[in-house]
Amino acid sequence: MKAHSNRRSRNQRWRGRLLSITTFVVLLLLWEAAVVSMHVRPVMLPAPSDILYELWHDTAWYLSNAGYTLLTTMAGFILSVLIGVAVAVLLVSLPWFENAIYPVIVSVNSVPKVAIAPLFVVWLGTGAEPQIAIAFLIAVFAIIVDSAHGFRSIPPDVADLGRVLKGSPVDLFFKIRLPCALPSILAGMKVSISLALVGAIVGEFVASQRGLGYIILSAQGSFDTARAFAALFLLAAMGVMLFSAVESLERRLTHWRHLS
């Protein structure tokens, strides 16, 4: 019975995937038709075929730059998960910490990160560090808010159970509190993975000689719109890939939620 329902849901997932791929293909064809029939100048909007050709003939260069952006994004994202969850634990367990720090976190988050980005270049130089820092800073807020919500929403009965069983603080954290908060933490991760990518690109806009953001910026300088679009395509693909990676992590870690 279990295997059967699994098979059915996998089937449904494949059918859904097929449908979204079809949508993409149709959109690209419409775009191509519009550009060709209306004689749009390539500087304004290149045809998808030009963009794909651009990607195909410089694949290695595009991939190495995409890899660089992927690396800074992942570094910022992983940092934001580790630090975000730790801060959420402190916020929930120490009332004075919440009173002292939470307003600071909220006000820092209210400042547009794009506006602080140039400062990071001053502080951290022109290597990967400012990009990682900006990716982290943009991504961490969602993790903090969602994780704190998760740690707060432990059912009272379950909290009482932990106290009656007199578990060690380590046991209580890893066997009760963290698994209780996990669905919320993963929800935060789904938001912050996309934000980390935005942060990495912002960082590359401000100061970088590598990465997809750098390609877009330099292509704009030389009116090479096809190159900018090629980078955008890769960026979109990377965004989808990262998001589905977090989704599949979520399915794996919280498989018990999808049983009944």
Partner: protein
């Protein structure tokens, strides 16, 4: 030997607009006795249980479990909650083993006991299932196994069958009695059902609405094992009638048109 001894305990909640939850509650519960604590919603019966469990401090009076003053959860305590409080990400077996893991006790001994408990409640086939795959009654049976895995000398049950349908509830009453007759530990069972309290208990402690005071302690002298049909006997009827009169006298039941 008394398992639980309460002397004039009082429990007051909150600062400015204080609510007195328990007032002058004195009670001795002998080891191996099954005691029901019966009262209407909000009478402080759960508060009383939580005080014994060391989850709430008493405001005044003294409370001892096995001769030791309660300040925090006592050792060797099992607790069953109204909503089973099973951990959704653990299988039934992993849930039942949680107290053993927390107490850092040896697993092999406990595994054998778990198998016995699972068999006793008819869940042998479901050990590797997750809680969300089980019905409410099965979940609560698993929660009872978890409470019993470390052989607690005192078992506290906070309206454990309150969320179950009437038929499942009857079934669980019969099973709980059978389990308890095997284990013979001290059992304190909180409920708002007169029938349930009389059916299960050696003594029924009747509490008044807020502030919770002990109105009377009724000794139930019915032979065990009790079958569900005992509820239709005149003796059983006499007990429930007596308790219902108490609630009428408190103004909780009013049948005048």
């Amino acid at each position: 030997m008394t398992a639980v001894s309460a002397r004039a305990i009082q429990k007051v909640y909150g600062g400015d607009r204080a609510i007195v939850a328990l007032e002058n509650v004195s009670l001795d519960i002998a080891e191996g006795q099954f005691v029901s604590v019966l009262g209407p919603s909000g009478c402080g019966k759960s508060t009383f249980l939580r005080c014994i469990a060391g989850l709430e401090p008493v405001t005044s009076g003294s409370l001892h479990v096995h001769g030791r003053q309660v300040d925090g959860p006592p050792d060797n305590l099992g607790m069953v909650f109204q909503r089973d409080a099973l951990l959704d990400w653990r299988t039934i077996e992993q849930n039942i083993m949680l107290p053993i893991e927390f107490a850092k006790k040896s697993r092999p001994d406990a595994v054998q006991r778990m198998a016995q408990l699972l068999e006793m409640v008819g869940l042998t086939q479901f050990g590797d299932r997750y809680p969300s795959e089980l019905s409410g009654g099965m979940r609560q049976r698993a929660a009872i196994c978890r409470a019993l895995i470390d052989s607690p000398s005192v078992l506290l049950m906070d309206e454990p069958f309150g969320a179950l349908d009437a038929l499942t509830r009857d079934q669980m009453n019969v099973e709980l009695q059978r389990i308890w007759r095997n284990i013979r530990n001290t059992c304190i069972f909180v409920t708002h059902s007169i029938t349930e309290s009389v059916f299960l208990a050696d003594r029924v402690v009747v509490l008044s609405p807020r502030p919770g005071r002990i109105v009377e302690i009724v000794d139930i002298d019915l032979p065990r094992p009790r079958k569900l049909a005992v509820r239709e006997t005149p003796e059983f009827g006499a007990y429930t009638r007596k308790i219902r009169r108490m609630f009428e006298a408190m103004g909780l039941i009013d049948e005048s048109p």
